[in-house]
Symmetry: C2
Subunit: 294 residues, 2 copies
């Protein structure tokens, strides 16, 4: 190990190095490991469909006045703790819970470098819906189509971990978008003005990078998801004991993480010129350069 | 995948199958994966020594009247949420926070099968101390001897995950002890009566099993801790980019997890005859059988 930063170095680096595409890609690749790990951790418990059904636990309604689902309650409780620690002041963290239900930080605020343009992007509702409807049933199928093992707390803890890693990964798209915008603003400005989502998506999409990602992700799921508890097992036995299916993980990224990241990038870009003066826009169009401030 | 249970099947199986050594070993081996995963997740952040120093955050004292450390506060907050979900009523879950600081469950109690004899074993103070003094400095050394990256919330979330998995692993020793006691009570009874810790430790220690564990664990750390983000890298480059050192993980188990599990097992056995009638003890001694009740 040589101390390469795979976390977002918001506390000490200048914006230009935080927004360097290589740095962003390093963080995103490290996040793939986390997502695969946490999916594997979730997959050891049954689907537990009750946990995702609003109102399924009468006690939560009676004692906590909570009419949502178990997982939404658990997210709210967990995010309450994290909000006190100012988690959602970081530019790469977005809560699943409505901000008005979360407390103010206990800690003094941190001054973060200005990385993103002011925006209102938060796709966590979509992430939660896809997670409940598609990801959980897929990765828990081996324990029964609608399996219930009673480990509601344990599965909720893992749900929270997966959801928070995926949310971070998907919203990280805004750093990618900001980085690409800064590197060639003149290419983006006309399509932002004409609100052309397709052209904006084309500008930020690199099919070769996505193809490489899916190959790499499949290898990670293959390696991290193998059962290493029976050294004498044959390949076939080992395959039967996999902790997670390779294809399931690849599909989650292909059908969901990547498209939703692209939506986030485009949503972000669409408001990227709000509040930028005509003069500034003109200069960026003429020079195709972003005025560096750090 | 074929649906093998690697979790503790307390909600549906009878005590005799839960306490079968094969089942317990399956759970312990699965927990190794979790511990390795979570150590890797923690190791991406710096040591952040401030988080482990009582009183280091004035705000926690002022606003939350908390004079302990950041990590103790974070454990208390997290365990408060989990206590509401009745986590600590499960026979394999023990809190780091003093029980009088934790709320009552919001949910109706679950009836667990009677697996363990009544006991007061909780070594979480020792686990936390070793974690702070030894494990965190070891696994974060690559980011600087006393590195501080400001990611206090992120590292605390991972601390909580590692600590809770290790605590579960170590306290699980009581299931092992109970299982072995039930299988040949006559061997244990004389040493329990004479309070002979060494003989009790001998009865539960299987050197071949421990040796196999350390080999298996090293392989897991090797495989799960490899950097898979640069497919073209040489073995040497890849080794430099490891997410965690194999030897560090093996040492954590060898110097700490295994000995502390043994202490837990012996502590538990020492009070295993409290409240058992002389007649019952005599019968167990004569028959060398445990009266099955399920």
């Amino acid at each position: 190990m040589n101390g390469v930063m795979h976390t977002l170095d918001v506390h000490s680096a200048p914006p230009s190095s935080i927004l360097a595409l290589d740095h962003i890609r390093g963080v995103l690749q490290r996040l793939e490991d986390t997502i695969v790990f946490q999916l594997i951790e979730r997959a050891q418990f049954a689907r537990n469909p009750r946990c995702y059904l609003p109102g399924a636990f009468a006690e939560l309604k009676q004692r906590e006045n909570w009419s949502g689902s178990w997982i939404q309650w658990f997210l709210k409780e967990t995010e309450t703790t994290h909000a006190k620690l100012r988690r959602f002041e970081a530019p790469d963290e977005y809560p699943f819970t409505s901000p008005e239900l979360l407390p103010k930080p206990v800690l003094e605020p941190v001054t973060y470098p200005k990385l993103l343009w002011p925006h209102k992007v938060n796709v966590n509702d979509k992430i939660l819906q896809f997670y409940i409807d598609d990801i959980v049933p897929t990765i828990t199928r081996n324990l029964g189509e609608d399996g219930d093992d009673g480990h509601y707390g344990s599965s909720a803890i893992r749900d929270c971990e997966v959801l928070s890693a995926m949310s971070r990964r998907i919203h990280f798209g805004m750093f990618v978008a900001e980085s690409k915008f800064r590197s060639e603003p003149a290419s983006f400005i006309p399509h932002i003005r004409s609100r052309n989502r397709d052209e904006l998506a084309n500008l930020i999409t690199k099919p070769a990078v996505e193809a490489a990602l899916l190959v790499r992700l499949g290898k990670k799921a293959e390696v991290y998801g193998q059962d290493m508890n029976r050294p004498g097992a044959t390949d076939e036995e080992r395959e039967k004991e996999r902790k997670i299916e390779v294809e399931a993980v690849v599909r989650i990224y292909k059908n969901f993480v990547i498209p939703l990241t692209r939506d986030v990038e485009v949503d972000y870009l669409l408001t990227r010129l709000d509040g930028v003066s005509d003069d500034e826009v003109k200069t960026m169009l003429e020079t195709n350069r972003y005025p560096e401030t750090d």
